[in-house]
């Protein structure tokens, strides 16, 4: 078992599950959003990890370097970070509106108020 060699992937999987747990188990809407952000950040780690090569340098031509890291995953993840920020911002915006309308951001309170 090459556990240490796959260290980065273990970090990815553990962070992913921490985020996912918060999304599912927490009933507070802000905590859910925090979980969602952690969940997305784990995927960023996965992408950044795959672009790195041992002893690789930035992909700029120079005589000293022969091994280059792949820049594409980082570019992809810049896009995904923007998407993640927009999602969090919109989610928080919705939470603010929920607070205005219901006076609470607990899932159980809101369900109770809707039943009335």
């Amino acid at each position: 078992m090459n556990i240490l060699g796959l260290f980065y992937y273990w970090v990815f999987a553990i962070v992913l599950m921490i985020g996912f747990y918060a999304v599912i188990a927490k009933s507070n809407y802000v905590k859910k959003l925090i979980g969602l952000s952690i969940f997305q950040a784990a995927v960023f780690l996965l992408y950044i990890t795959m672009g790195k090569i041992d002893n690789g340098t930035a992909p700029i031509f120079q005589d000293a370097a022969t091994v280059y890291s792949n820049p594409l995953p980082q570019v992809l993840i810049l896009t995904a970070i923007v998407v993640g920020i927009s999602t969090t911002a919109l989610g928080l915006g919705i939470v603010v509106r929920i607070r205005e309308e219901y006076g609470s951001i607990e899932e159980s309170d809101i369900q109770e108020r809707d039943r009335q």
Binding site: L16, F20, V23, Y29, K32, L36, F39, Q40, V43, L46, Y47, M50, N70, P73, L76, T79, A80, V83, S86, T87, L90, G91, I94, V95, R97, I98, E101, Y102, E107, I110, Q111, D114
Partner: protein, 497 residues
């Protein structure tokens, strides 16, 4: 002319996307709506032009920025994409043409430019997904369309839309992130993001385990977005509490686009490469489809609100589409693709009639609508016609896809017989829930005072009736969707070893 037709795939996305920021600036009353409708109609025209081209045997490919395919982002339109583009742009255009009164009732005039800008972004995202041939680009379009749809769903006056949209946001983002993980794993193993290139390179990968994991993530993520049972829990509330015009638009196309992507990935990218993928895929999806069909229809039987009832019926209809896919045969995939088109027609027309009722009547529970047909006979007539199409009465579009689905099930032998029984039972339940609506609006007595209710505005009625009559037209002359679907099924399955 040829020069312009070369650029059609790019224009399909660019027209709504660039109109969106312009719409924000159009403060005076009605201008924003006019610009949005014009952009949507232009997108519909582009989709029709490309469909004609595709039917003539053309396939459109477009290199973004002039970079050649596996390196740059490629746009590609084949028969299957053309079918989806028709559904998406058509749904948006019909909803906008009919929806003026309804949007005015739901959204203050000062916020309307914002609403329409978000609408156009949703349209751009949803039409971008079928066009793009680049997996990561598709993710970006998916998020553009999702974020914009959250905004327009939450835009209405009903406060219950907010928790509904929050749930949709959480589940939608988890689905999209699962998709992103899948793409990441494939990129890790193959080094490519272009779907055609992925298909070629997956063979060369020595260790197939990460690809198998990727297939799992992508299938579950997209099933979440497509509201495949039991991942459908976000759908009923989001459709019910959204502004009525938005429900027309999204109910007709948003889940179908995710189903399209699911089929693209599982057949085009994975099927030929992973050993036994077709079996695993079918064994996973078929039980879910059967449950969706039965549970969706059964819940619809007891719903009291007409929008909620139709939303649960959508879950059952998504089940039909998934059932066809799970056969992994030409006939099954044809049935699914035809049903994507026909269900959009039927459900779009039904929600348009709901939109008409909502502009005249304050409540949308069946008891509120009791006897409303006496006041709004034309709207009620359109509801009956499109209801027939949802049931699959011969002579309507719904019949064509049910027919194809039953033929496909027939090929499956003894198991197929059981599945036909499921389809028949669910159709009978559909008869009951559509009859409940018809009974209420024709023979019921309303609990609220309907004496002031009058027929919906003429412009709305005309659009609603065009949509309802399209159900009959495509039931009698089904050549266009059927030939598009058959070629779509052929392209999807040709990669099977």
């Amino acid at each position: 002319m040829t020069y312009l037709s070369h650029h059609l795939p790019a224009l399909q996305v660019i027209v709504p996307m660039l109109t969106a920021p312009l719409v924000l600036l159009l403060k005076p009353d009605g201008l924003a709506r006019l610009a949005t409708t014009a952009a949507s109609a232009l997108a519909f025209a582009i989709a029709i032009a490309m469909t004609m081209g595709v039917l003539d045997g053309h396939t459109y490919t477009y290199r973004m920025g002039g970079w050649p395919a596996p390196y740059g982002i490629e746009l590609a339109v084949d028969q299957f994409s053309a079918l989806l583009l028709l559904v998406v742009t058509g749904a948006s255009t019909f909803a906008l043409l009919a929806g003026q009164r309804s949007v005015d009732a739901d959204i203050d005039s000062s916020r309307q430019p914002l609403f329409y800008a978000a609408w156009l972004l949703a349209l751009a995202g949803l039409s971008g997904i079928p066009i793009s041939a680049d997996a990561f680009n598709i993710f970006v379009f998916m998020e553009i369309s999702s974020l914009a749809s959250y905004v327009i769903i939450a835009g209405g006056p009903d406060r219950r839309a907010l928790p509904a949209v929050f749930k949709y946001l959480i589940m939608g983002t988890v689905g999209a992130t699962f998709y992103l993980i899948g793409i990441g794993l494939i990129y890790l193993m193959t080094g490519t993001l272009n779907m055609a290139d992925m298909e070629l390179r997956i063979h060369e990968v020595g260790d197939q385990k990460p690809i198998l994991v990727a297939a799992g993530f992508i299938t579950v993520g997209l099933a979440l977005k497509a509201a495949v049972f039991p991942l459908h829990v976000w759908l009923p509330n989001a459709y019910t509490y959204a502004p009525n015009t938005v429900t027309v638009f999204l109910a007709a196309c948003s889940t179908k686009v995710s189903l399209y992507l699911l089929m693209r990935f599982d057949f085009f990218v994975f099927q030929g490469n992973l050993a036994g993928h077709d079996m695993q895929f079918a064994a996973f999806l078929m039980p879910l489809a059967v449950l969706a069909i039965l549970v969706g229809s059964a819940v619809a039987l007891f719903e009291k609100n007409i929008k909620r009832l139709l939303a649960y019926s959508s879950i059952a209809q998504i089940g039909y589409i998934v059932l066809g896919v799970s056969f992994v045969t030409i006939a099954g995939l044809t049935a699914s693709a035809v049903h994507i088109f026909n269900h959009a027609l039927a459900k779009g027309a039904l929600f348009l009639t709901v939109c008409c009722f909502a502009t005249q009547c304050t409540g949308l529970r069946l008891t509120d609508l009791g006897g409303i047909a006496r006041r709004m006979p034309w709207t009620a007539g359109a509801l009956v016609v499109s209801g027939f199409s949802l049931l699959g009465i011969p002579g309507t579009a719904g019949f064509i896809s049910k027919w194809y689905l039953i033929v496909a099930a027939f090929e499956q032998g003894p198991l197929g017989m059981a599945l036909i029984a499921v389809i028949v039972v669910s159709s009978l339940m559909a008869v009951v829930y559509i009859w409940r609506i018809v009974e209420a609006i024709y023979f019921g007595e309303s609990t609220i005072d309907l004496s002031a209710v009058r027929e919906a505005p003429a412009a709305m009625l005309i659009v609603t009736w065009i949509a309802a009559l399209a159900n009959i037209y495509f039931g009698v002359v089904p050549e266009i969707p059927v030939s598009l679907s058959i070629s779509a099924a052929d392209t999807l399955l040709e990669h099977l070893p």
